[in-house]
Symmetry: C2
Subunit: 145 residues, 2 copies
């Protein structure tokens, strides 16, 4: 089952980073793996309370910080300006977020380099990093509509 795989992978990442495998971090990793689409820290806190895990709010934020640091989770900005988190793979990529169900898919840079190159030439800036976020409707939500 995918969930187990994902959480063990997360724990392996902890090992690799020289961090302790603690019970709360394991639990947070499971809560995240059990979610679909983007979620907020408050969502996870609510899940934890519902399951009667004795996990504090601060711990959830700390675990999220760790996972963001290790690129197992990323912070995204919804069109309305709110923050959310999504589980994702650890290399450089972008997200396309479904406005219907909230699920997101990872997408690569594609030919973005050509675009940024053109912008560098036009503006004289040297681009260090970029962030591309896409919003739309996933195939499921479209067929359902």
């Amino acid at each position: 089952m995918r969930l187990v795989h994902e959480t063990t992978a997360t724990l392996a990442i902890l090992d690799a980073a020289g961090l302790r495998r603690t019970e709360p971090r394991r639990a947070v990793a499971e809560l995240i793996a059990a979610r679909e689409g983007h979620f907020s820290a408050a969502d996870l806190a609510a899940d934890a309370r519902r399951r009667r895990l004795g996990i504090g709010r601060a711990t959830i934020f700390r675990a999220l910080d760790v996972l963001v640091e290790l690129h197992a989770v990323e912070r995204i900005d919804l069109p309305n300006g709110q923050h959310a988190y999504v589980a994702c793979r650890p290399d450089h990529h972008h997200h396309i977020v479904c406005s219907g169900c909230g699920r997101s898919a990872d997408v690569g840079d594609g030919d973005l380099a050509a675009v940024t190159g053109g912008i560098e030439r036009a503006t004289g800036f040297v681009i260090d990093t970029h962030r591309l976020e896409l919003y739309g409707r996933c195939p499921d939500c479209r067929t359902r509509a």
Copy 2:
């Protein structure tokens, strides 16, 4: 002087939207025009206090809402996840933000349509909107370094 032009333009936008030209809105427009680079609502509030304008915090947020609505100002997300605002032109575009001085330039979509088209084909999503934010160093900051 650029400041005067910008604020009068902003006031004209208010008229066009059927909103009242009030003293506080005028003042906020001036504060924004006097700023370079991105700024936060707290920055404007501090400016207002320093100049002894009797402008409340809530009013600054309300004025910013109006200007965002009218596309005279845009909300951006800094790489560290914080929110900021930048004055900008009212059509669709993106921002490239200098990590040195904070100034930003507007850039067009370039060939981004090709990139998003490829992503639609690869993922099956239909893309409604996108947000591209670029971070780097402006020509001034580079020559200065």
